[in-house]
Amino acid sequence: MHPAFSVIFLTTLIGVGQGLFLALFTAQSYAGFGLLHEQSSGFYALGSLLSLAFLGAGLVASFFHLGRPERAWRSATQWRTSWLSREVIVLPAFMGTVALYGLFHWLGWRPVLLTLPTGLPVDPTAILGVAGTVLAFALFVCTGMIYACLRFLREWHTPLTVINYTLFGGASGFTLAAGYAAVAGSDLAGFFAGWAMILTGLALVGRVASLIRNARLKPKSSLQSAIGVKHPKIVQKTQGSMGGSFNTREFFHGKSKTFLRAVKWLFLVCVFPVPLLLLAAGFTDGAGLPLLVAFGVQYLGLIAERWFFFAQANHPQNLYYQSIA
């Protein structure tokens, strides 16, 4: 497939936003159970704002993918069948929840609404936090399923797609949370960095698993089944256009094998070992710089990862477009 930067930015940016929100609420939950110090209300509010900024940027990027962005509202109508439509509904719902979560923290509006039998007090931010967590995971599932549900694109048609979208979002969000905490002077930098390392490690396992799986895929369709002629040797001579068509632009990445391999190694280095080392450095002393650099490198790596994710998918329609004439 031809990797579109609008979609690359959409999926990576909202992943960061989701992960960052999950990090904030994880910290709040730990504090609720008395496992961590409670943070200032400003810490959560500013963190939510940062998460919103990433989600909003992703949303803006998505509009560049549309031919008719002014009609985008229509895309919320087919949630019964379309994962894309479901994503269109869940993303704003999640953004709204994050906004409310930040606002309630900012206003310090945390009256105890009820007390759980265990003696745990529940305030509005906790309820919003749980709702946001559910929506964050729902959004990961929607985004992943947009690709995983296309059975012809066999590189994507696997549960690993959804798992990896979730792990990458979580890893990059927690890495950003660690940098944010360090800059904000919070004592959570080490806590977030620890989780970021775990998630990055899990993402490594998931992505390597999908790379191995995809390397072993055998194409289901062939030129023989595409045109229905049983002969081992068929060569395309013309494809009905002289200067290419939508089909040659949308479904081919147009880069060499070497370039593809280079991008693969670039993301394997930038998403996993480099941030892991930097996170480990920040984990011990809570220094801001290595943690922020870790996020920067990992995010750039994720752009390469997403580019490769699209480029590697081989669409069966390509069988019909092998020679321009």
């Binding site: 229509r74 109508t77 069948t81 002629v229 068929i234 256009s241 200067g243 939508f246």
Partner: protein, 243 residues
């Protein structure tokens, strides 16, 4: 239930592109249009087409065969392109099985083109919406046209009658007969899309005849004559009798 479809006979198609031309002409002037071209006379001409004819060479020189292969939306009975559409712009009509795009609803997200394994949906660079074959839905029901004219533009244009049009759910229709009797098949059946359009394979008429069928008793080779066999040059019964 009706399922309209095309049946394309690869044995007859000569690759003249008349269907492509007439399709573009009819549809660029109709509600689907304009189907605009970019750089039509420049270096890399490109544009929106519903139908394209491709050419494949089968075999190895000198035993090669040229196959011309017209390709348009197959109006699948289980179209994977329809459920993925987030706006409902892509839909399959209940009454006749035609898969259509509502150009006023489409947001141009291109997701449906990813979900079609055949690469027959084309994004219009000017109107910024997805386009595809409509089976000339604006022709085939037009009461102002004669019965003969109420067929898709490509079918009307084909000089070799390689394109048949009809209801494949009606067992007695011309297309059903063709599929049944001439080995009609579906493209990439492995994906379970159940395309309505069918293709008829290349066919060669071969006379399978055994030697003993040539050398019959009443033929000049006289294989069954009395022994010793007369020479093939010797007069036969037909040469000596006059009745």
């Amino acid at each position: 239930m009706t399922q309209l479809a095309l049946v394309i006979d690869l044995n007859v198609c000569v690759g003249c592109h008349a269907c492509v031309t007439n399709c573009k002409e009819w549809n660029t002037s109709g509600p689907a249009g304009p189907m605009v071209d970019q750089n039509p006379y420049g270096k890399d001409p490109t544009g929106t087409f519903f139908n394209r004819v491709q050419t494949f060479e089968v075999g190895e020189f000198p035993n090669t065969e040229t196959v011309h292969f017209p390709k348009s939306c197959l109006h699948c009975e289980d179209p994977p392109c329809v459920p993925v559409c987030p706006t409902g712009a892509s839909y399959k009509r209940k009454e006749d099985g035609i898969v259509l795009v509502d150009y006023d609803k489409c947001i141009g997200c291109k997701y449906c083109s990813w979900a079609c394994p055949y690469g027959v949906r084309e994004f219009d660079e000017q109107q910024k919406v997805m386009k595809k074959c409509t089976l000339c839905v604006d022709r085939i029901y037009d009461p102002k046209m004669t019965e003969e004219e109420r067929r898709p533009a490509c079918v009307r244009a084909c000089p070799t009658s390689a394109r048949l049009f009809g209801d494949i759910h009606d067992p007695e229709s011309e297309v059903s007969h063709a599929i049944r009797e001439a080995g009609g098949y579906q493209l990439m059946a492995e994906w379970g899309t159940n395309p309505a359009n069918h293709y008829l394979p290349r066919r060669k008429t071969k006379l399978r005849i055994r030697v003993d069928e040539i050398e019959r008793a009443d033929n000049p080779l006289k294989i069954d004559s009395q022994l010793p066999k007369p020479d093939t040059g010797a007069p036969a019964l037909d040469d000596v009798t006059s009745w």
